[in-house]
Symmetry: C2
Subunit: 269 residues, 2 copies
């Protein structure tokens, strides 16, 4: 099992907190890692170091699929900024959510080529900064509008075009648990797993399907199984609990941190 | 292109009609095929023949995943009845929606073994009745509660354990459009495509994600591309428009039939 010393709390799980408060929460609850989003990060790198926390991921770069060259250039500029931020934070990986169909187009192959081309442009930038990119496949229900990379195998095939220290994949249980090829694809991801995120698949899906995620154990995912696959593939990083859920956001942050820690300890500690 | 002479209207698209009224609607709008659900079918076979329609599918058998032997036996009994009904209707295929996780279990591999075992039990029944089973992969967002078979490749691997005239696969654009392996899997499905269903992926998903489907052209799916793949794999059956959508159910059935026909003609006629 992966153990509490490799637990990380993604900031999105306690979205109503400032980064500074999320850092304090992790320290208070002895959660050694934190996953950050690119909002209000000024001064955060110093605060993280002062707190002795480790940044398991920065979310996110990506959204590479655009209909015109100006928008693609703007996306690259934004991704360069994200790389700089990831370097400052010494994050294990900059997570890439690749983007869905190109606006006005139903051509999935085009979207996927555009994603591959954009990552190829970003790789030298990331290498110069010492940042590892992490391609995250999203659940196929987000294929049209958020991420045309829908399976771990697809993310892995894309990552493998580049050096392993420059580009890896991010395994998020919520997005990949259903895939009958998951075990095979995790097994061939040795040396390529740049991040591991956990939350549960709960039903019914809410009106906004982005927010339908649950605490570990409240849903249908076998976390022991997937974690063992990830560990067997040699992953040595953090297990980051990232739960996008409006009810959990409304709960007291201390209660959420306690739940995250105890569920993790029960299932994976 | 596939052409209007191979258009079929699935009854679920006009769910508020009786089977008899759905048959009349197809005749009136010169839609030569119909897909049926197992509700109120008494007398339907004779009415179908009198109307000169062809039954492209009967929906559905399946739901094979149960925690106890009694429930599994009941499911087999129900599936035997579905085979009998499909034979009476001379349906091209009896669609199988396989069932999700076994109640109380997070073991996807167990669910998939149970599905394979149940289909193996059903195959001789179907062969005796001259009915072809069609394994339908459902979108991964239905994996937990409706169908653990989430990709065409998975359905195909399962179908291939049995004779091609006994077990095929059903390609439903809504469920498979996102899959980067779709073209490869359709190509290896030569002789195995037992049914082809169409509706569009529209956003946002509604509260009940079963009902988030749209008229052809209202969403993100490239129907020309997928239809060409299916035809290139030698499929000679009907293209069945099946749209589960509460707003479309509330529309006048004639209007719906006209929309189905004209969208199909524009995109695929």
């Amino acid at each position: 099992m992966i153990g509490l010393r490799r637990l990380s709390l993604n900031q999105a799980t306690v979205r109503n907190l400032t980064a500074a408060d999320a850092i304090r929460l992790c320290v208070k609850h002895e959660i050694p890692g934190i996953g950050l989003w690119r909002v209000g990060l000024a001064g955060t790198a110093a605060a993280i170091r002062a707190a002795g926390l480790h940044v398991s991921s920065l979310c996110r770069g990506g959204f590479f699929t655009h209909a015109d060259a100006d928008a693609r250039a703007a996306a690259l500029t934004d991704n360069r900024a994200a790389v700089t931020e990831a370097a400052e934070l010494q994050a294990d990986t900059l997570i890439l959510v690749s983007g869905g169909l190109v606006p006005g187009s139903r051509d999935l192959a085009l979207a996927r080529r555009m994603i591959a081309d954009a990552i190829a442009e970003l790789v030298p930038v990331a290498q110069d900064a010492g940042v590892r990119l992490g391609i995250e496949p999203l659940h196929p229900m987000f294929c049209a509008d958020r991420c045309a990379i829908t399976r771990l195998g697809e993310a892995l095939d894309l990552a493998m075009r580049f050096p392993a220290d420059a580009v890896g994949v991010v395994v998020d249980t919520y997005h990949v648990w259903w895939d009958s090829q998951l075990a095979a694809d995790v097994a061939r991801a040795v040396g390529r797993i740049a991040g591991y995120q956990l939350c549960d698949w709960v039903l019914p899906l809410p009106q906004d399907v982005l927010l339908g995620r649950g605490h570990l154990g409240d849903g249908f995912i076998d976390f022991g199984l997937i974690t063992n696959l990830v560990l067997a593939a040699g992953y040595t990083g953090y297990a980051e609990v990232e739960i996008l859920n409006a009810e959990i956001w409304d709960a007291p942050a201390d209660e959420t941190a306690l739940q995250v820690r105890s569920r993790f300890a029960d299932l994976l500690g």
